[in-house]
Amino acid sequence: MNDNVIDRSKDITILEVLDRVLNKGVILTGDLVISVADIDLVYLGVKLMLSSVETMEQLKAGKKAE
């Protein structure tokens, strides 16, 4: 797989994680206690469905080979 694709996907993946954990889910209004001192958007890598991306690449390669 193209390295640039992976790097770009990693950045987006961090945003995907943070978007969900900070903006979605059950809201307990009035009890939220968050310090917004620092949001550091550096890669964690818990979520990208790499295996599925690879599957897509394989599918594409397989169809081209046919």
């Binding site: 996907s9 987006i12 993946t13 961090i14 995907e16 994680v17 943070l18 969900r20 954990v21 900070l22 903006n23 979605k24 889910g25 059950v26 809201i27 307990l28 209004t29 009035g30 009890d31 939220l32 206690v33 968050i34 310090s35 917004v36 001192a37 620092d38 949001i39 550091d40 958007l41 550096v42 964690l44 818990v46 979520k47 990208l48 469905m49 599925s52 991306v53 599957t55 897509m56 599918l59 594409k60 169809k63």
Partner: protein, 251 residues
Amino acid sequence: MKKLIYAILSLDDNPDRRIAIPPEITGIPGDKLHLIRQGGIAAVAGNTNGDAVDTVRKAALQYAGIIENLSFHFTLLPVRFGSVMESEDAVTRMLEKNATAILANLQKVDNRFEFGLKIFCDSEKLSAFLVNKTDPAASTNDPPPTDLPPSVYRDYVNKKLKAHRLEEMMLAYVDSVIAVITSKVSALTSISRFTKMASTSNLIDAVFLLEKEKKDELVVTIAGLMEEHPMLTFMLTGPWPPYNFVDLNIK
């Protein structure tokens, strides 16, 4: 002791009726998580001294990781990062008071995971393609021939009109792509949400709620869409806990 809440889960709906949190899943400071139960539901909580929860990367992402690990064991509703309640009694009262809504949400997401699909494009290339497809003559930058004298106002109106038509074309294109996605994914799930034109490059931001076993079918479906739309870039993520399918604002 104040409680940091990670998730609300169903005890009744879990096939093996697990009533204990796996010991390898610990809270943000590494402390033991515990269940605060009320009827057939429970909150997953950790102790906190009440200080503000720092939204540093480590804490936020660790919180997300804990919810993810829990989602492999329980049907759950993820709670937004940093939700702290005064005491165990307050959590119990919250669960009791909102039990009906919580159970309705749990039923909706039972044994299902969320998958995200973002579709990106090079907006300039796509715009040029759509303009050329609709009216090849309009793809040039030359103004239409006219016998009228030059007018800055007419130029302004023409420019605005052109931008408006382009926006309409983009929206029509996005709607057509969403219609295709909806028809193809409908065999896997009927629960999905679409956000159009989240940014100039992010044409579609979609989320689907479906059973985890259908992941491979979704991947194959999206791979087919990728081939049909070479101008677009697809990014599929998941399985996620059902963050986008929780409609619960507890006061």
